[in-house]
């Protein structure tokens, strides 16, 4: 079945709250910050297996618990509310279905590192899937570039991405997340075969590859306060903004942009679901 009317949207709405404690300098010197290794709801995510990694599901530690649809029904995201509580942390809050993740790569070598990740399997052949470099143990502060060899949305192997630069100065900490570009003409990733850094960052650390499908986002306002605990106004997306199918075993995961603040912050809100 599927949602076919306004009445379907208002029948049996269920919610899943979330609350993440964001550490200072989250995502420092890179574009984005992953909440995967942050608590509280959902719990701190597991560091992925090394090598080929794993396909993540709703049972993977770190995934947001979501209601299961009735038998034969399809679950949909109906609403998305989020606020960021911290001084000067203006950020989109992005919701992804985390499909595959790996770890065990090091940031102090420039030779090709094999990944040979498992392929994405949930609702996509790779079309629309984004690839990220995700840090699990802080890497070095020397700026570098990263590129990957991957299989694209059509199953074509050996595709080589353009290099993506990430700046130095302060070591990207746990949670630093760098979106990887695709080769000209590609629109998705099915699996990643290898990763190569252009320059050693100076510290091995631990990073991996995360493949994910974007679902929705809200944009939390910039709210500069002095005590670090005044809530930002928060933002809300309703079905007009975010109506999307959610696969039953989806591993829901939040991403924000970086903050250079020295105060901790909190990401909190709730997702609303309907099934029909």
């Amino acid at each position: 079945m599927t949602v076919t009317s306004v009445a379907d949207l208002n029948s049996g709405v269920r919610t899943s709250p979330f609350f993440k404690a964001i550490t200072p300098n989250f995502g420092q010197n890179v574009n984005l910050g992953s909440s995967w290794k942050l608590g509280v709801v959902p719990d701190v995510g597991v560091t992925p297996p090394t090598g080929v990694g794993e396909v993540t599901t709703s049972a993977t530690v770190g995934a947001l618990s979501i209601p299961a649809p009735a038998s034969g029904n399809q679950m949909y995201l109906r609403s998305f509310r989020a606020s960021l509580v911290e001084s000067s942390h203006a950020s989109p809050v992005l919701l992804f279905d985390r499909l595959v993740h790996t770890s065990g790569l090091v940031a102090n070598i420039t030779t090709e590192q094999a990944v040979n990740s498992v392929a994405v399997a949930r609702g996509t052949s790779g079309e629309g899937v984004l690839a990220f470099m995700e840090v699990y143990t802080a890497i070095g502060g020397t700026g570098s570039t990263v590129s990957m060899t991957y299989t694209n949305q059509d199953g074509t192997t050996g595709k080589v991405s353009p290099t993506t630069a990430f700046s130095g100065g302060t070591s990207p900490p746990t949670g630093a997340l760098i979106p990887l570009c695709l080769a000209a003409g590609d629109t998705g990733v099915r699996s990643v075969e290898s990763v190569t850094l252009g320059i050693s960052t100076g510290t091995a650390g631990d990073f991996g590859i995360t493949l994910a499908r974007r679902i929705a986002s809200v944009y939390a306002q910039n709210d500069v306060v002095t005590n670090g605990f005044t809530p930002s106004p928060g933002r809300k997306a309703d079905f007009l903004d975010c109506l999307s199918p959610i696969y039953e075993d989806a591993c829901l995961w939040f991403v924000t942009t970086r903050t250079t603040g020295t105060a901790s912050s909190r990401l909190m809100g709730e997702l609303g679901f309907v099934d029909a």
């Binding site: 599927t2 949602v3 076919t4 009317s5 306004v6 009445a7 379907d8 949207l9 574009n31 949909y76 203006a90 950020s91 989109p92 992005l94 079309e127 629309g128 984004l130 949305q153 353009p162 993506t164 979106p179 570009c181 695709l182 080769a183 000209a184 003409g185 590609d186 629109t187 998705g188 499908r213 974007r214 679902i215 929705a216 986002s217 809200v218 944009y219 306002q221 910039n222 933002r235 997306a237 309703d238 079905f239 007009l240 903004d241 975010c242 109506l243 999307s244 199918p245 942009t257």
Partner: protein
């Protein structure tokens, strides 16, 4: 069919597409001038420089566009939501690239033939179609005026318009062609002529496009969201080659990322 009720809209949205995207920054020569993100790396991957001469009419099968799939049967596709944030404030437009060309030389001061390919989507008359200069290899340091000879939306040929070529026009740089008085669109481009050499041959072309939606962010990183009622549910024609252009409030476009949704019905 067309979506005509709220229930049909909800059903269409539930069955619609979602297209995520992110693009790296491109350097602009002049703050405030439009920039095409066609050749910017990211996801989707960068588009290629078009064919020279008459160019081509790109479609949703052309590498570089968003992964839009045509609706089936008699259904139409509509843009119902878009959310976008960038590291630079500015205004982004989601565009359908109807025709694009390249191979024009920034040092040639005689008439350069274009005779652009025909528009193939329902915009075939050219009504409402905008015309831009687009740069694929940097031009020279001297700003110039480009005079364009084109056919308008009524099929009248030998119409002329002008565009500014800024100094050191960079890859991705765009410049709007001001149409002749009374014209409301462009069907094809016949030729162009520079007022003088820019100093460097480079490579530029002509892009005919239709804007699908425009959204603006006053502050970097804050992001912007529009739902179906903000957007007015514009049609996305079958075969649309969806891409972005940006008016950046800085000398670079900044990184950008977002998601757009469609409804089918």
């Amino acid at each position: 069919m067309a979506i005509a009720t709220m229930d049909e809209l909800v059903a269409g949205m539930a069955a619609g597409q979602q297209m995520g995207f992110h693009k790296v920054s491109l350097a602009n020569s002049t703050s405030g001038l439009p920039m095409s993100l066609w050749t910017a790396a990211g996801s989707p991957g960068a588009g290629s420089t078009p064919a020279s001469g008459a160019g081509v009419a790109p479609t949703n099968a052309t590498g570089g566009c968003l992964a839009f799939t045509d609706p089936g049967g008699a259904d139409s596709a509509y843009l119902t939501a878009i959310e976008l944030a960038g590291s630079t404030a500015g205004q982004w437009s989601l565009i359908d690239r109807l025709v694009h060309t390249s191979g024009l030389d920034g040092t040639v001061t005689t008439s350069q033939t274009v005779n652009s390919a025909a528009i193939t989507r329902p915009d075939a008359t050219g009504e409402g179609v905008e015309l831009f200069v687009e740069c694929y290899t940097q031009l020279g340091a001297s700003n110039r005026t480009l005079t364009v000879t084109y056919t308008n939306q009524a099929g009248t040929g030998s119409r002329t318009g002008t565009a500014l070529i800024p100094p050191n026009m960079r890859v991705g740089g765009m410049s709007a062609v001001a149409l002749q008085a009374g014209d409301t669109g462009v069907r094809s481009v016949q030729s162009v002529i520079l007022s003088a050499s820019t100093g460097t041959a480079g490579n530029f072309g002509m892009t005919l496009l239709r804007r699908v939606a425009t959204l603006a962010a006053n502050n970097a990183a804050q992001g912007v969201q529009h739902d179906v009622f903000d957007l007015g549910m514009p049609n996305i024609n079958s075969g649309a080659c969806l891409a972005f252009m940006m008016y950046a409030a800085a000398t670079s476009t900044g990184t950008m990322q977002g998601l757009l949704r469609t409804a089918t019905g």
